[in-house]
Symmetry: C2
Subunit: 314 residues, 2 copies
C-alpha cells in the first residue's frame, strides 16, 4: 500500500458568493422593471467598534453593487435601548426599507434579544428573530434563515456535495451558526450531531462526520484526529496569525502566507488546522475565501426576498 | 467472567406525572388565593375521531382534578377552517382562558399550520406555535415547550439521570417530539444526534448513545443492537399488541402481559423491543406508564404557567 498525499478540492466561497450576488443583481433589475420596486436594506450601527464599522461598510458596498438601496443609520454608543428601539420601529414602518439589520455586538446597556424581537420578522434579513428561528425549526416557509448557515448550504449545493443520509457533525451551538446549521442540515436529510464545549471526546465524535462544520471560534482547533479520511470540512472561523512560527505550523512553507505575514503583518486561519486537515479531507473551505463571502451574499439574497414578498411576487 | 442478566431500573412516568400534577394543583390553589385567578384550559376538538375524543377526555379529567377550569369546544368535522380560526380568535380574546389547545390531527380541509399560528403564543400551551419553537431554539425565556419532550426532561431530572456531557441520540425529527427534544437536550449540555428514516446504519449510530430517545412510531423497532450496554432508554412510542406470538416475542412469558391480552384483547408496546433492550439498558421507560402520563402533566404545568404569567406572577 502506498501512502498518498492527497490534495482536497476547494469549496470556492468567493466564486459562489459572486454567482449569488450576480443573481441578486438580476433579481433587483427584474423587480424594478416589473413592480417599480428597489429593494432597500438599512443597517443600524451603534457606537464606533472598528470591526463592526468594517463589516457594515462591506455590507453597504455589496448591497449597492447589487442594486439594493443601502443605508446605514449611525447611533452613538450611549444612545440607549429606547432610542435603538425607536429607530427600529421607524424602519419597520418605512415601506422603502425591506431589510433591517442591527449590527451586533451591541453596547452593554442595550439588550440584543429585545432589539432583535423589535424588528418586523418580515424585515429580519439576518434571520435572528424568534419567529424566523421557529419557522426554520418547524419547517414552515416564509421566514428568513441566518446568512452564514444558509450560505454554507448554498456552497455545498453548488459544488454538488451530496447531503441526504450523510452524517453531519456541527461543532458549536450558537444561534447564529451552530443551531440553524444543524436544523438546515436536518432538513437536507443529514443525520446531524451538534457538539460544543461540554462534549466528551470531541475528536472522536467529529471523526464520525462525513460533513464537518467547525464553528467553535478557536484558532486551528480542528486537527487531523477530528477528520475522517474523505470528509467534507467547512470552516466558519476566522482568526489572525501574526507570527512566523505559528504561520509555518499552520501553512508549512506556503510562500503566499509567509508573504502576507511579511507585507501586511498578518495572515488568516480558521477553526481548522489547514496543514493537518488538508491530508484527510476530500473538500475544504479556504480561509479567507470560503464561508466569509457567502454571509454577505446571503444577506443580499434575503433582502431581495423580503422586497419580493412585500411586493407580492413569488 | 460471569454473564449477568441485569434488570434495568424503571423511569417511573406514572409516579413522576403524579408528583407534577400535585405541584400544579398546589400552584392553582396558591394562584387563586393570591390573585383570585383560576387557570383555564380550553381544548378545541373537531370531528369525531375516537382516539382524539379519548385523549381530550383524559386532558379534561386531569385538568379538572388539578383545579384547572377545563372546557372542550366541539366543532363538527365539516366546520371548515374559517370557523376553527374564529373559535381560536374568540378563545384568544377570552381572559378566563389561559391555555388554548387544538387537538390534532385536523380534518383534511383545515391547515394545521394556520390554525397553530392563529393561537396567541401566550396561550399556546402545546408549544407548537413558531414563536414558541423559536424561543426554544434560541434559548429565550417566556415561551412554552412541547409537552412530551418537556416531560421527558422532567422525568430524567427527577430520577437524577446526569445529562451534561452525555451523548444523546434522538430517533425521529418531528416538530412535536424529535426536534424540540434535541433542542432541550442540547440546552442540558448533551451532545445531541438526531436520526431519522434517511439515517445510514441507524443501529450503529443509536448504539453510540448514553441516552437514547426513541420516537420513530414503529413497533419495537429498537432492538438490542441499537443499545449500548448501560444506556438510558426513553420510549415515546405506543402501539397495540393483539396476538400471543408477538406478545411472547416482546415480553417472553410475562404473565401480566399475557393476562392483558386474554382479558382485554391487547397489551401495549413502544418503539423499543422490551425483552431485547432490558438486558442492555441501565434505565428504561415502561409502556404504558413511562412517557405517556407526562405529556398531560406537562400540559397542566404549562396552563398554570400561562395563567401565572397572565396574572403577572413569577
Amino acid at each position: 500500500m502506498t501512502l498518498e498525499t492527497r490534495t482536497p478540492r476547494i469549496l470556492d466561497g468567493t466564486a459562489t458568493a459572486k454567482a449569488i450576488r450576480r443573481e441578486v443583481a438580476e433579481g433587483c433589475v427584474e423587480l424594478l422593471r416589473e413592480r417599480g420596486v428597489t429593494p432597500g436594506l438599512t443597517v443600524v450601527l451603534i457606537g464606533d467598534d472598528p470591526a463592526s464599522a468594517i463589516y457594515v461598510g462591506g455590507k453597504e458596498k455589496a448591497a449597492t453593487a447589487a442594486g439594493i438601496a443601502s443605508k446605514v443609520v449611525r447611533l452613538p454608543g450611549d444612545a440607549g435601548e429606547a432610542r435603538v428601539l425607536e429607530t427600529v420601529a421607524a424602519l419597520n414602518a418605512d415601506p422603502a426599507v425591506h431589510g433591517v439589520l442591527v449590527q451586533l455586538p451591541l453596547p452593554g446597556d442595550v439588550d440584543a434579544h429585545r432589539v432583535i424581537e423589535a424588528i418586523d420578522p418580515r424585515k429580519d434579513v439576518d434571520g435572528f428573530h424568534p419567529v424566523n428561528a421557529g419557522r426554520l425549526a418547524t419547517g414552515l416557509p416564509g421566514g428568513f434563515v441566518p446568512c452564514t448557515p444558509a450560505g454554507i448550504v448554498e456552497l455545498l449545493r453548488r459544488h454538488d456535495i451530496p447531503l441526504a443520509g450523510r452524517h453531519a457533525v456541527v461543532l458549536g451551538r450558537s444561534n447564529i451558526v451552530g443551531k440553524p446549521m444543524a436544523l438546515l442540515l436536518l432538513a437536507e436529510n443529514c443525520t446531524v450531531t451538534v457538539c460544543h464545549s461540554r462534549t466528551a471526546d470531541l475528536p472522536r465524535v467529529a471523526a464520525g462526520a462525513d460533513l464537518l462544520v467547525a464553528a467553535v471560534g478557536r484558532r486551528a482547533m480542528v486537527t487531523a484526529e477530528f477528520v475522517k479520511p474523505g470528509a467534507v470540512v467547512v470552516d466558519v472561523g476566522i482568526h489572525r496569525v501574526e507570527d512566523e512560527v505559528t504561520c509555518r505550523d499552520l501553512y508549512g512553507d506556503d510562500p503566499k502566507r509567509l508573504a502576507a505575514l511579511r507585507n501586511r503583518g498578518a495572515t488568516l486561519v480558521g477553526d481548522v488546522h489547514p496543514l493537518q486537515v488538508r491530508e484527510r479531507a476530500s473538500w475544504i473551505t479556504p480561509v479567507p475565501g470560503g464561508v466569509g463571502p457567502l454571509t454577505i451574499a446571503m444577506l443580499l439574497a434575503n433582502t431581495l426576498t423580503a422586497a419580493r414578498r412585500a411586493a407580492g411576487v413569488g
